[in-house]
């Protein structure tokens, strides 16, 4: 049978892939996609815990699913603003590589 731990391990692997993408890739668009992967890994563990904690009425704990709804909304807003920043940056510098943006580098 599938246990709660199986879902949590899948979520952990997905989060790690996202973290590795943010740290290893140099293209800003791929970094934004990796951020989405990390947010969705958190969503998966939230939904798994929601299903695990069955209340007195025999239904899953819907508080966690409301949180997932909030996370998805915030992620969508974050992607929109991030991509607008990317377009503004591309207009100014003609690059999406994080290695070429060194104005604030110490």
């Amino acid at each position: 049978m599938i246990t709660l731990g199986d879902y949590l391990v899948v979520s952990a692997i997905l989060f790690t892939i996202g973290l590795a993408g943010v740290m290893l890739r140099r293209n800003l668009i791929v970094i934004l996609m990796s951020l989405e992967l990390m947010l969705n890994a958190a969503n998966l563990s939230l939904v798994a815990f929601s299903r695990f904690r069955v209340g007195a009425n025999g239904l899953p704990d819907y508080n966690a699913q409301v949180f997932v709804f909030f996370v998805i909304t915030v992620a969508a807003a974050e992607v929109a603003v991030g991509l607008a920043l990317l377009v503004a940056l591309y207009r100014a510098r003609q690059t999406t590589d994080v290695g070429d943006i060194t104005t604030l580098k110490f």
Partner: protein, 167 residues
């Protein structure tokens, strides 16, 4: 949900998630992300969270991915040319990620609930939209309205950011 289907969708999600990071071409990364999100949506539905699974498909595989592909097309980004890899940075980044994975797995291993199967449901979960909506408009009414303001601010911010500077 049979264990067979769980493993199919879990492997699909993880493999295409890895393809997002490993692909050199941004378009291939974006399309891998769509497949990964579809697998994730199937995992949500296997946990009886049908509403969350549906909005995952609608919002991510629909709206967000169109946004990504549109920006890739607009900026005309090609596959990155092979550049010399900074091995120190690559090994460091991969090392931090692997350490985090090992840490999370150790924590899951020490958590007793992780070895239990999911309890059976007594009620029907087909009306989970009603349940989530009721919570959203009663217990979480203030956060819901704050999220509305956030989306409004994001919309105005995007318009302002993408406006051309007047000469």
């Amino acid at each position: 949900m049979s264990p067979f289907l769980f493993w199919i969708f879990a492997v699909l999600t993880v493999v295409f998630g890895a393809a997002v990071v490993l692909n050199r071409n941004p378009v291939a990364s974006a399309l891998s992300l769509v497949v990964s999100f579809l697998g994730l949506s199937a995992l949500f539905m296997s946990l009886d969270a049908f509403f969350v699974g549906i909005i995952q498909v609608l919002v991510y595989a629909g709206a967000v991915m169109v946004l990504f592909l549109f920006i890739i097309m607009l900026l005309d980004i090609h596959a990155e040319e092979r550049r010399r890899i900074n091995w120190l940075a690559a090994v460091g980044g991969l090392g931090v990620a692997v350490i985090l994975l090992v840490q999370i797995c150790v924590v899951i291993g020490h958590f007793r609930g992780a070895r239990q199967t999911f309890p059976l449901l007594a009620g029907s979960t087909t009306d989970d939209v009603w349940n989530i909506g009721r919570l959203l408009f009663t217990n979480y009414n203030l956060p819901f309205q704050i999220i509305g303001v956030l989306v409004l601010v994001a919309t105005i911010g995007v318009v302002l950011l993408s406006r051309r500077e007047p000469r």
